[in-house]
């Protein structure tokens, strides 16, 4: 078992979570909790796989996934922003809807054959760096590299640009933003859409790069929900989200690969000799999510920081007392 290879695969697997988590950060920063990520990711994975199959061009697949998941996200936007329904229930319903849709429209895709994947390559120079080079810059999918660029950009965007400032204002105190002429509804729709687009990319990252193919609900296996948990751990900060995503990705890979070798740290590998112990390994990412949430909540309590103040609350203008 080669740790470098596991970490390398872990980075790729973490990229899925990275996109999903960052997308959710955008939505939540604007004040809209979107629990529909799992469903949107499935729609993205199914769409990208099916479109790539038809067109032969994975880039068109990615674009289609972004669009499809973005559209699904607008169902949530409409229900929770315009119709002011409870965001929890609305998000859940969108998750069910996305899951169901992807199952119906993805029927038969699992046996559809092979597709052309997104290109993978090594970055010249950077891949020569010891340890970091092979882990981060060798034979990674282009989406992984895009991930490296995306998360610092998103961080910068949120904290150091005018639209980012408006995004934060809308999630913290929409009435204040509204009073200064910022269109709260439009921005919330926009960032829920952005969240959907990211979830679509996350789905496409699975089906076109990390574990190619369409395996119905097992394609995402709850990663959308893990992403919702990671957002809390990340405290709505893309940099922390990236850290969490890559650690999680590595953990997922480690669990898959740990069952391979006969010897582990000098002793007989129990997971090799009794593969059923693998079921306990499978629990780890989910248990770890819970632990991460506990740690995150404790830290948030200690530092008294928290979610965007208006998260989960519909904004209604023109009512008395605002």
């Amino acid at each position: 078992m080669d740790l470098i290879i596991i970490l390398q695969a872990g980075v790729a697997s973490g990229t899925v979570l990275l996109f999903a988590t960052i997308g959710e950060i955008f939505a939540e920063r604007s004040g809209v909790l979107n629990l529909g990520i799992e469903g949107m990711m499935l729609v993205g994975a199914m769409t990208s796989f099916s479109v790539t199959l038809k067109t032969g061009n994975p880039w068109i697949g990615v674009a289609a996934a972004m669009l499809a998941a973005g559209l699904i996200s607008q169902v949530h936007a409409f229900i929770s922003i315009t119709l002011q329904a409870d965001q929890v229930v609305s998000g859940l319903s969108v998750s069910f809807l996305g899951t169901g849709l992807s199952l119906v429209l993805g029927e038969g895709l699992s046996k559809a054959g092979t597709i052309s994947l997104l290109p993978s390559f090594s970055v010249p120079l950077l891949s020569q760096i010891p340890v970091l080079g092979p882990v981060f810059f060798t034979k990674q999918s282009v989406l992984v590299y895009i991930g490296y660029v995306i998360f610092p950009l998103c961080w910068y965007f949120i904290n150091n640009t005018r639209p980012g400032m408006h995004l934060r204002a809308v999630g913290e105190y929409p009435a204040a933003a509204d009073a200064l002429g910022i269109n709260v509804y439009r921005l919330r729709y926009l960032y829920v859409f952005v969240g959907g687009v990211f979830a679509g990319v996350a789905g496409a990252t699975i089906s076109l790069a990390v574990s190619p193919g369409w395996f119905s609900e097992l394609t995402t296996a709850g990663q959308g929900w893990i992403a919702v948990g990671l957002v809390i751990f990340a405290q709505w900060n893309p940099l922390r989200a990236a850290f969490g995503s890559y650690v999680f990705g590595a953990l997922r890979r480690l669990i898959l690969d740990i069952q391979g070798p006969t010897m582990l740290l000098g002793v007989a590998n129990p997971f090799y000799y009794n593969p059923y112990y693998g079921f306990f390994l499978q629990m780890i990412p989910y248990a770890f999510t819970i632990i991460v949430l506990i740690l995150g909540s404790r830290e948030a309590m200690r530092k008294r920081m928290g979610a965007p103040a208006a998260l989960g609350l519909p904004y209604i203008r023109g009512q008395r007392g605002l």
Partner: protein, 518 residues
């Protein structure tokens, strides 16, 4: 409607004609006319709920009027959003500040502007903000986060926000409600310096004294209608304005029976507690309340009043000190124990704390006794007893609703407060902690609530009345404590306003008396 003609050379900046605005169940503005001259401070006077804020929210583009026209410098304008109004040079400083707490002063000022286009180079803008503050005497650190600022500082940020946008007309919605007397002085200075630069100011208030002090002209609203249109202050009197405002001569004193206060019911000894942010809110506060007296607690908002009420009723833990009720130590005991021992609490926030909006009136009035006979019976809530109880309270407290099954979210503010008072008073409490019991109510409702409190005093309760309305405190209380930064500055028996004012701004009574003596 009386119309007072005034000859003036000043040009009219804003003119509103025939403004009508309805809210569900209320006609907030009924064909209102309003004129603002250049370089004047124009007071908009009226009781809570008279439609002042609504009218100004229309001018500021936040609400849309159902009918009526607005002219700016003689040209008709149509504001679809606050942005339109701000672009036209009309800015409003709201009663609840429209500031994003997690962002800095400069960020808040730049919100919604086209410049900077994309990258926030805050350094450059911080200097601009500081300069602007200098010019109008509005001192505030441009890099501070809003949540770190005092209420007065936050108000300065709000004003700066509008000045930065080049506002020519500034609407101030009840700006003094949250300020200490010294801060009010500072604000008035700023307003005067702005007028000198040719800006025009609309000053919304329901406090006569301030209106008389700061404004040039006054328009009075009552129940959505204009009762006085832009009278120069020189031509009117305090009594006249009061009459226009409430529609009849105001009783400035309620009838209060002289009562000999009994034994000490509540004794708070040297308590310390933190606020929600973990900062000290109460710093060694002591006070006591005796049977049959109303003890007022005066102070500017945010000096620990809310925390004190929560500490006494068990909603918040103290870090040190003792709370004794009727001789029993209730320090850090759960709310339930307090309720059993006869502590009632009229909370500051009626909708978010005092009631459950979607539950029926019945469910809301049994909140404190659902688990005690006759309503609570072993494990069960006796539905018949509960609804009988609710109907009794509806009749005796004059809660106007078709049925006690109505969810309380459908009640008006006055009715809602009567539901809470009915619940809290009907248990014949030994101690009643009432926080801002009349805020936001109309005149009639206020009087009703005050009478209920006095009746309870006669019935032998000890009442701690926490209020920001000095007039209310003076007319109801037997004694008044003044709170400042979580400490009692002193106690006043004779209602000496000057002393109270000094203590509200942080001068302990010992110092005042030392000076007075010297």
């Amino acid at each position: 409607m009386e119309h007072v003609n005034i000859s003036t050379q000043k040009p009219t900046v804003v003119s509103m004609r025939g403004i009508v605005k309805k809210f569900p169940g209320v006609l907030a503005n009924d064909h209102v006319d309003f004129d603002l001259f250049e370089g004047e401070i124009h007071a908009l006077l009226g009781e809570n709920g008279a439609g002042k804020s609504t009218l100004m929210n229309i001018l500021a583009g936040l609400y849309k009027a159902e009918a009526g026209l607005i002219y700016l410098n003689g040209n008709p304008v149509n504001f679809n959003s606050p942005r339109d109004a701000i672009k036209a040079g009309i800015g409003m400083v709201h009663q609840h500040f429209m500031l994003v707490p997690s962002q800095t002063v400069t960020e808040n000022i730049l919100l919604g502007l086209e410049d900077p286009r994309f990258r926030l180079r805050l350094r450059d803008y911080e200097q601009k903000v500081a300069d602007l503050g200098e010019r109008f005497g509005l001192h505030v650190d441009p890099r501070a986060k809003i949540w770190q600022l005092s209420v007065g500082e936050q108000q300065r940020v709000e004003i700066l926000k509008m000045l930065y946008r080049g506002a020519q007309v500034l609407i101030m919605d009840e700006p003094t409600a949250v300020l200490a007397p010294t801060e009010i002085e500072g604000l008035f200075k700023t307003l005067r310096s702005m007028v000198k630069e040719g800006k025009s100011i609309i000053f919304i208030s329901h406090k006569l004294q301030e209106v008389l002090e700061i404004s040039d002209r006054v328009t009075v609203l009552r129940r959505g209608k204009v009762t006085a249109a832009g009278i120069p202050l020189l031509n009117t009197t305090r009594e006249e304005l009061a009459r226009l405002m409430v529609g009849r001569e105001v009783l400035f004193r309620l009838e209060k029976k002289p009562l000999q206060a009994g034994e000490v019911i509540l004794s708070v000894e040297n308590i310390r507690a933190e606020n929600d942010r973990g900062l000290p809110a109460l710093n060694g506060l002591s006070l006591n309340v005796r049977r049959g007296e109303v003890v007022g607690l005066a102070g500017v908002a945010g000096n620990g009043q809310r925390e004190l009420a929560e500490v006494i009723t068990g909603l918040r833990k103290v870090t040190s000190g003792r709370i004794v009720v009727q001789g029993e130590d209730l320090t850090n005991q759960p709310v339930k124990i307090g309720i059993r021992r006869g502590i009632s609490h009229v909370p500051e926030d009626r909708t978010h704390v005092g009631t459950a909006p979607n539950l029926s009136i019945t469910d809301n009035v049994i909140m404190k006794n659902y688990n005690r006979p006759p309503i609570g019976n072993r494990w069960v809530v006796n539905a018949i007893a509960a609804s009988k109880y609710a109907n009794d309270l509806r009749n005796s407290y004059e809660i106007v609703v078709p049925s006690v099954a109505t969810p309380v979210r459908l009640l008006s503010g006055g009715n809602l407060q009567r539901v809470i008072l009915a619940r809290e008073i009907s248990s014949q409490p030994s101690l009643l902690v009432a926080v801002q019991p009349t805020r936001g109510l109309d005149v009639g409702a206020i009087e009703g609530v005050q009478r209920l409190l006095l009746a309870q005093r006669e019935a032998g309760s000890a009442i701690l009345l926490i209020s920001e309305e000095l007039e209310e405190l003076l007319s109801l209380s037997d004694r008044i404590y003044v709170i400042y930064e979580g400490k009692i500055m002193g106690e006043v028996l004779d209602g000496d306003l000057e002393k109270i004012g000094l203590m509200m701004t942080g001068t302990p009574i010992e110092k005042i008396e030392a000076k007075g003596g010297a």
